[in-house]
């Protein structure tokens, strides 16, 4: 009897976790996947990582159905997933750098954006700077909110944004010269 009740409770938890995860997916999938696509520079990888983030949200909710999971939690998980992917790729040198393959698609997206190859600039940045720049200017968080998500201070976020801009500006100037 007791094990039956426990089974019911587990099923309830699973159902609640699935429903809440679906709600999170509906609300955040586009922004989160786009953020990840900019972070890693590849649509397919971004989609994989997005799914991993939601899967991880599901598991967290299944373990604790009362837990509040907000966008910040998803962005933190997404950023960590992207950072570990980038580091792994750097170490292993196994996966191709799809930025080159994906370049034409980025250009379409950025038509009119002063013809600058933002993705090429992002590819030159340390991953922490990319995260700070995208979290604020792309995802729309303030520096304090981004700092909370990234586990740092607002001033550090601002400084990383500035350093990212230096590289971006350099790429823009290179583009305008060529």
């Amino acid at each position: 009897m007791r094990s039956g009740l426990e089974t019911c409770a587990a099923m309830d938890r699973t159902a609640i976790a699935q429903r809440r995860t679906e709600e999170l997916v509906i609300e955040h999938q586009t922004k989160l996947a786009r953020y990840l696509r900019r972070m890693v520079g590849d649509a397919e990888v971004a989609l994989d990582l997005t799914q991993d983030v939601f899967l991880s949200a599901y598991r967290t909710l299944q373990a604790d159905p009362a837990r509040e999971l907000r966008a910040g939690w998803l962005y933190r998980a997404a950023t960590n997933a992207a950072i570990s992917f980038m580091r792994r790729r750097k170490i292993l040198h196994v996966l191709p750098l799809d930025r080159d393959l994906d370049r034409s698609a980025w250009r379409v997206d950025e038509h009119g954006a002063q013809s600058v190859d933002l993705q090429a600039a992002l590819g030159r940045l340390p991953v922490e700077q990319t995260a700070a720049l995208l979290m604020t200017s792309y995802a729309g968080y303030s520096s304090s909110e981004a700092a909370q998500i990234l586990g740092t201070t607002a001033d550090a976020v601002r400084q990383r944004v500035c350093r990212a801009m230096k590289t971006l500006r350099h790429v823009m100037n290179e583009d305008s010269l060529s």
Binding site: Q29, L133, S143
Partner: protein
């Protein structure tokens, strides 16, 4: 006077200006610094330059056209099918599963020991049902009727409906009949 710490402060101020978080006082402090620091003027630029550079990111965001759909696979795949499919396949091979590590091409380990709730979540989110994604199950130890023990590493390619389209033995067990039985079971397990 120009010092490294002044330049660090200037970077923070420039970041605040870029993010629209700087008040008049901070903008003034930044201008003051620029008037004495050629390096920051050259590498960061004035306020208008900061706004020009940062606007590229906002423009890229506004013009983004990619519409990913994480849920699309979910609609196509019944939630529990995935876990049972593996179970059925292994049972058909007359095998006892000890562990399955399914790995994706990009993420090293996604699912360990596919249990029903996890399998439901995986299927629900479409993680394992994307077109042409390769899955590899490794360290699959099983005991046959003759109590022979073997470890086989194999790869399964799935189509967009999650149906196996190709099974390749990566590491043989040493017994061809066992390898063939495993792939046969995997291919029929849908």
């Amino acid at each position: 006077m120009k010092t490294a710490s002044n330049c660090t402060t200037a970077e923070i101020l420039a970041g605040a200006i870029a993010l629209g978080e700087a008040g008049d006082e901070q903008r003034h402090a930044y201008r003051e610094h620029l008037s004495t620091c050629r390096r920051c003027l050259a590498t960061i630029g004035g306020e208008r330059e900061i706004e020009r550079v940062i606007s590229v990111v906002a423009q890229a965001r506004d013009q983004e056209q990619w519409q990913p759909d994480v849920r699309r696979a979910l609609a196509r795949v019944p939630a529990r099918r995935h876990g049972w499919r593996w179970g059925a396949g292994l049972a058909a091979a007359g095998a006892l599963t000890v562990a399955i590590l399914a790995t994706q091409r990009h993420a090293p380990v996604v699912v360990r020991s596919v249990a029903v709730p996890d399998a439901a979540a995986v299927a629900a989110l479409g993680t394992q049902t994307m077109p042409q994604r390769e899955h590899r199950a490794e360290s699959l130890a099983f005991t046959s009727a003759q109590a022979a023990r073997a470890t086989i590493t194999f790869q399964v390619r799935l189509d967009e409906r999650g149906k196996p389209t190709r099974c390749t033995i990566v590491r043989h067990s040493g017994r061809a009949s066992l390898d063939a039985a495993l792939c046969d079971a995997v291919m029929r397990a849908h």
